[in-house]
Symmetry: C2
Subunit: 306 residues, 2 copies
């Protein structure tokens, strides 16, 4: 039975590329039939990666069958996975997020979680010398995942290991890293096709602080004027999204990759208080700039106060 | 702050030896202050290992402080760990059991779980070429852990990797593997100093089947006549242990390492039914022999039916 390899819902570049990389490794190197699948439409940067490297877009699935063999990458959070994930036969987990608890396996399996910026970096290490057999497209997907998750090494989640792997891959591929990253970020920044609610949910995680449930949404972009030009309708939409998703408040951070700062939308006094208490910011209007803030994992979530 | 490295409660050989191995690696190779600790008295085989290799018995601790740095080995089950484990700063997990769910970490950390017979085998791989710097006692502890968890390669949990590492270590140590294993098992088999309740709880895991809570206890021994000679008082004690520990029934399997079979004590009709439904056994008296059954993880738990 073919093993399905998938990342999290609302797939970003790492959750689109890492399943492709690992399914290649399982099938071609280990001789175990595997295929990458997605839990939703890939974002525009992930779509750029597929097109640039001429990779097939993986099938989008809804749920998984009882007993179906699966490998989970780039998350260990049941809330970001198919409803029946604990009913499946989880064969492996490769991830770089904190352990959330909630996934259960039927027997001992291979689990590898490391505090690196990107799942693909961990895979590069696990594949080891077999990387010599990887086609250009697999190396290209790996490079794209790492540049995406590190924001071209600007994010504070970046480790020396992520950087070294990405630079080596760029050299092997004969690719100008900065030029390629600029194309990726331009693809990610083109959000014109998305509705406000889609933008809010695109890269978003739920997080609770002292009983208040937040949807913490991030838009990484090289063109912050695109989402910020829509701030009024985005703020209006935040109320509806919060109600629909059963959270108290949406926090939307527009991360300017090049200027290395985030702009938080401030629709009300609750969010104003969050900005002041969490980031020591002085809020005067309906947005506030947070210099240096780029990472939800390292800078936003650990500081969040109500 | 010194990192505490520990395994599960009721420490067996792997949960005594692996913390010693990993604390050595962290301190001597990685330069991070660490010390092994235990969550209870080591069993007689683990005590033999400490004495044979002239290793200090690690300090026994009760609970862990809020924010204290810890590395967890040989389990990922909160029920087998200090009450405040999720309040500690979990820095790493190295294990070979199924993922139970329930542990949470504050950020992404190093987690390595593999379906091998023994935690020490995973550590041997992770330590890699730095094993060249390991003192005899660390190699000896590794070997003891692997021989213990594999019952000298007789257990069906044994992988080729466990076996290869153990055989290489025995050779490096200039040690007759079979002779050494016999000494270990003799130490484990000397259960004369333990009360019935201590014997029942010595190597025991709770497991629920269709609403019935079991304490599934295993006694691995080369002298089955020792515990079986006390079967009446053991069976009487099982009732008290079940009541005290809040489970419905104790299942006590006396595993004969050399004959590769288990004898299950059958104090009542519930356990008789379990033996018949789970193992297809025909029960006539107050014990039943289960040929080939040696592993709780691979053979007992997966088959348990009420």
């Amino acid at each position: 039975m073919t093993t399905q390899v998938f990342g999290h819902k609302s797939p970003d570049t790492d959750s689109t590329g890492s399943p492709i990389i690992w399914a290649w490794y399982m099938t071609e190197i280990k001789g175990e039939a595997a295929k990458p699948v997605l839990l939703g439409e890939p974002n525009t940067e992930a779509a750029f990666m597929l097109e640039h490297w001429n990779l097939d877009k993986p099938e989008i699935i809804g749920d998984v069958e009882d007993g179906a063999p699966v490998v989970i990458v780039d998350t260990n959070n049941p809330a970001e996975l198919p409803a029946n994930v604990n009913g499946a036969d989880i064969r492996g987990i490769i991830d770089h997020h904190k352990l959330v608890g909630g996934l259960e396996t039927k027997g001992p399996i291979d689990i590898r979680i490391e505090p690196l910026a990107c799942t693909a970096t961990i895979m590069h290490k696990m594949i080891g010398k077999d990387m010599a057999q990887a086609p250009q497209a697999i190396k290209g997907a790996m490079l794209t995942c790492i540049l995406s998750d590190t924001l071209e090494f600007r994010s504070p989640t970046t480790t020396q290991e992520d950087r070294a792997v990405a630079e080596a891959l760029a050299q092997e591929l004969g690719l100008d890293l900065t030029d390629y990253a600029a194309k990726m970020f331009a693809a990610k920044s083109d959000v014109s096709a998305f509705s406000d609610a889609e933008l809010i949910r695109m890269d978003s995680k739920e997080y609770e602080v002292d009983g208040t449930k937040f949807r913490v949404s991030v838009l990484e972009t090289t063109a912050p004027e695109m989402p910020l030009g829509r701030k009024e309708s985005l703020m209006a939409s935040m109320k509806d999204v919060a109600a629909e998703d059963g959270v108290d408040e949406v926090l939307l951070f527009v991360v300017d990759i090049l200027k290395e700062e985030a702009t938080l939308l401030v629709p009300n006094d609750l969010v104003k208080g969050v900005a002041e208490k969490s980031f020591g910011a002085t809020v005067t209007g309906d947005t506030v700039v947070l210099p240096g803030v780029m990472s939800r994992k390292k800078q936003i979530i650990p500081n969040l106060k109500v």
